[in-house]
């Protein structure tokens, strides 16, 4: 009760402070002071503090199951374990938006602290633009999705949290992903501020690069966590389904990756100013549209907590407002690039970085069209369609080979001007060796052997090039690690998709099946009563041709509140492959649908993604 009041009024206070900040930052901006007014720091901290109070009171209501709070009633239950009571705070629409707001206010506070070297006016303007976004979110929370609505009479018991969300990976997935999304909002505000101040230059690029790398790091890890969760919880054994909700997080990532490369050109060569701006605006817009698509209920998925058209319309209007604002600023303040002075040669590092951008924009448009086309078609001619993995695979995979090769040789070019004569024949030779190796490895298992060998070869080539670069002194360690990680990533995916095997059958207890020289025995089932679910644990034994036996204990959980069945796969991971068993109930409790998969190099997909993001975070700490 008290905690809800506290949280609600704290939110309103925070909203008032935001408006004060908005006006005050412009007031300070007009004053032309050399130094930034100390009050700004205090007010920003106060704003952050009010949101923290509000957030903590919501967590408090969840922990103590205060069902007078509607959000708690809708998403919690007394028998839920404490850990999931806490993480359930952001496992719903209202709470996750409050978390978003928390991260927004935290980031602008950190930004003002870590940008002391920049000009006062630029910092004030960044605060101003960020406050516009923050006010938008405050209004959104207070008007359409207040987390502190009261319920009367107070219910005895809550409705519970969707069991597939009761999972450690999914507990930290939203906060991490938000750090990435919100990081892009800082880049957006800072870009607009620096556009208005007309100081888009190398210095600024150097400063904003750290923020881009930070946002990129969190976005990568956030997507990775979601993917790992989908792998073991949804029971299909894949890690990426080209599902619209996944694509929606991939789009800002692609855009941010393009920005990450463009900003280097701006830093070193003072080129591509407008393009940098467009990318910063686009990244944030895509993050926001992602929120819009997911929250409005247009895309149906686990992320759709409630289908409330009002919310969708609010986000859509806010989004339009931000886009129009940034476009107007862009056209008023756009600074003509002085091309005459800047020599741009075709063969140079600039071009190689631009090539990255080309690829990113291509991938982005494929994902964008594949994700939004069904929505448009439904709205316009009321035809229901879906676009599956073949579309994306067909359009993206053929270009991966070129992409990988450019990734390997691109960083080798010099700035300004270079020529092909520097290319040593040994490199070409190594490249062909790589293709031969991959041809040999893939040989028996693929129908399109030439095609896959080229991709595998290109990935291997990227690996060799980057490994060699580690030993070179002037190499850029964060770039090398990320590129190395990406090579490893593509290689693992390739082998994973080529050598996976899958088997499914409907089995009774005690039954034995032989498949691919492996004997699968369904031994027995046991039932346990757990805190908030009943567990049906099956035990399987798999005996391979060398007579090694492995035991598996896949599980079915029958949750009490809400009453939902989930399958918990049992996965045995080794460095070479994952073995994966998942069972489902069929027709009462006699027959089970059993699915047994061998997935090679699964763990390397996770490791390589960690390496990719490690490169990003190393870049932040590099002097």
């Amino acid at each position: 009760m008290i905690s809800s009041y506290l949280g609600y009024y704290s939110l309103i206070l925070g909203f008032i402070i935001s408006i004060i900040l908005l006006i005050y930052s412009i007031f300070c901006f007009r004053n032309n002071n050399e130094k930034i007014n100390q009050n700004i720091y205090s007010i920003l901290f106060l704003q952050f503090f009010t949101v923290v109070i509000s957030f903590i009171s919501l967590v408090y209501s969840f922990v103590f199951s205060d069902f007078s709070n509607q959000t708690v009633y809708n998403n919690s239950h007394t028998t839920k374990p404490l850990f999931y009571k806490i993480t359930g705070t952001w496992g719903n629409h209202e709470g996750s938006l409050l978390l978003w707001l928390l991260v927004l206010t935290l980031f602008i506070f950190l930004f003002i602290i870590f940008s002391k070297k920049q000009t006062t006016k630029y910092r004030l303007l960044s605060v101003f633009f960020q406050q516009i976004i923050i006010i938008g979110f405050f209004l959104f929370l207070l008007l359409t999705s207040n987390p502190f609505n009261f319920l009367f009479p107070i219910p005895k018991e809550g409705l519970g949290l969707n069991p597939i969300l009761q999972d450690p990976a999914l507990a930290i997935h939203p906060p991490i992903l938000y750090l990435g999304y919100v990081g892009s909002s800082i880049i957006f505000s800072a870009s607009l501020a620096s556009l208005v101040q007309n100081n888009i230059n190398s210095e600024w690029a150097k400063h904003i690069k750290k923020w881009i790398q930070t946002a990129w790091f969190f976005l990568t890890i956030g997507i990775l966590l979601g993917s790992i969760w989908a792998y073991y919880e949804l029971g299909w054994g894949g890690f990426w389904f080209w599902d619209p909700v996944e694509n929606v997080s991939l789009m800002p990532w692609l855009c941010l990756t393009a920005l990450l490369h463009t900003i280097i050109v701006l830093e070193k060569r003072h080129l591509l100013k407008s393009w940098t701006l467009i990318l910063s605006i686009a990244t944030f817009t895509l993050s926001m549209s992602g929120t819009f698509l997911v929250r409005s209920g247009i895309l149906n998925s686990v992320h759709t907590f409630a289908n409330d058209p009002e919310r969708g319309i609010f986000i859509l209007l806010f989004l339009f407002f931000l886009i129009i604002l940034s476009l107007i600023l862009f056209f008023i303040y756009q600074d003509k690039e002085d091309i005459a002075q800047k020599k741009f040669f075709i063969i140079s590092k600039e071009t190689s970085l631009l090539i990255n951008n080309w690829f990113m924009m291509y991938f982005l448009s494929v994902v964008l069209i594949g994700t939004t086309y069904p929505i448009f078609l439904e709205v316009i001619i009321n035809e229901k369609i879906s676009i599956g993995p073949p579309f994306f695979n067909k359009l993206i995979i053929p270009f991966l080979g070129f992409f990988l090769i450019f990734m390997a040789i691109g960083p080798k070019f010099n700035w300004i001007k270079d020529n092909f004569k520097r290319i040593k024949y040994s490199r070409v030779f190594i490249f062909f060796i790589c293709i031969l190796i991959s041809f040999y490895l893939i040989n028996k298992s693929s129908s399109e052997i030439l095609f896959t060998s080229v991709i595998g070869g290109a990935a291997l080539y990227l690996l060799f090039t980057t490994i060699k670069e580690f030993s070179e002194k002037r190499s850029n360690i964060s770039q090398t690690i990320s590129h190395f990680g990406f090579g490893l990533f593509i290689l693992s995916i390739l082998f994973n998709s080529l050598f996976s095997s899958e088997f499914s059958a409907n089995m009774k207890i005690g039954q034995e099946i032989t498949y691919n020289n492996e004997q699968i025995k369904f031994l027995n089932i046991e039932t346990f009563d757990k805190e908030n679910y009943k567990s049906v644990k099956a035990s399987f034994e798999i005996i391979d041709k060398k007579n090694n036996s492995i035991s598996f204990y896949p599980e079915i959980r029958i949750y009490n509140q809400p009453n939902i069945l989930t399958s918990e796969a049992d996965i045995i991971s080794t460095i070479f492959f994952d073995k994966f068993i998942v069972i489902n109930l069929l027709k009462g409790e006699e027959i089970f649908n059993v699915r047994y998969q061998t997935k090679p190099f699964m763990i390397w997909i996770w490791i390589s993604t960690c390496l990719i993001s490690l490169g990003g975070i190393l870049g932040v700490f590099k002097r």
């Binding site: 969707n162 597939i164 949804l234 029971g235 299909w236 149906n300 998925s301 686990v302 080309w358 291509y362 448009s365 494929v366 069209i369 594949g370 086309y373 035809e383 229901k384 369609i385 879906s386 676009i387 599956g388 073949p390 579309f391 067909k394 359009l395 499914s504 059958a505 409907n506 089995m507 099946i513 079915i556 809400p562 009453n563 939902i564 069945l565 989930t566 399958s567 998942v582 489902n584 109930l585 069929l586 027709k587 027959i591 649908n593 699915r595």
Partner: protein, 141 residues
């Protein structure tokens, strides 16, 4: 005539234009090939012709008492309370698949009353009904 610089720039621009045109063409082409349409059993009955190479989705309710199992295969009937279609499927089945519940199957039509499913779509919770199914059922009420 134009200077060398202008020519080079024109060449570059037309190159860019060509690439954009090409990628748009590629995307649209494969969009056309890979779209999966959602069709209800009634609509299947009314189809002018059957294309058994085209991947489609069929949605509706699993009819009561129609699930039949053997070791490798499961068969059932999808109904929209007006028309129905027989479905055969082998592979993994999502948790919430049961008689009297909504279902979406993706696969190929053998003929107007037999459907060979390659995938049965997972649902996320008990109350969740795929929006396509909901609409198809509402149409026939």
């Amino acid at each position: 005539m134009y200077g060398k610089k202008v020519k080079l720039r024109l060449l570059f621009l037309s190159f860019i234009f060509l690439i954009i045109a090409l990628s748009v063409f590629l995307i649209l082409k494969s969009l056309e090939e890979n779209v999966v349409y959602f069709i209800s059993p009634t609509e299947i009955k009314n189809l002018p012709e059957i294309d058994s190479t085209k991947r489609i989705r069929v949605g509706g309710m699993v009819k009561e008492e129609t699930i039949k199992l053997n070791q490798n295969q499961i068969s059932f009937v999808i109904t929209d309370f007006k028309n129905e279609i027989n479905v055969t499927y082998s592979g993994a089945i999502p948790n919430l698949f049961s008689e009297g519940k909504g279902v979406v199957a993706e696969g190929f039509l053998n003929d107007r009353s037999f459907f060979n499913a390659k995938k049965i779509l997972a649902k996320h919770d008990e109350n969740y009904m795929p929006p396509e199914v909901k609409e198809a059922l509402e149409k026939n009420k």
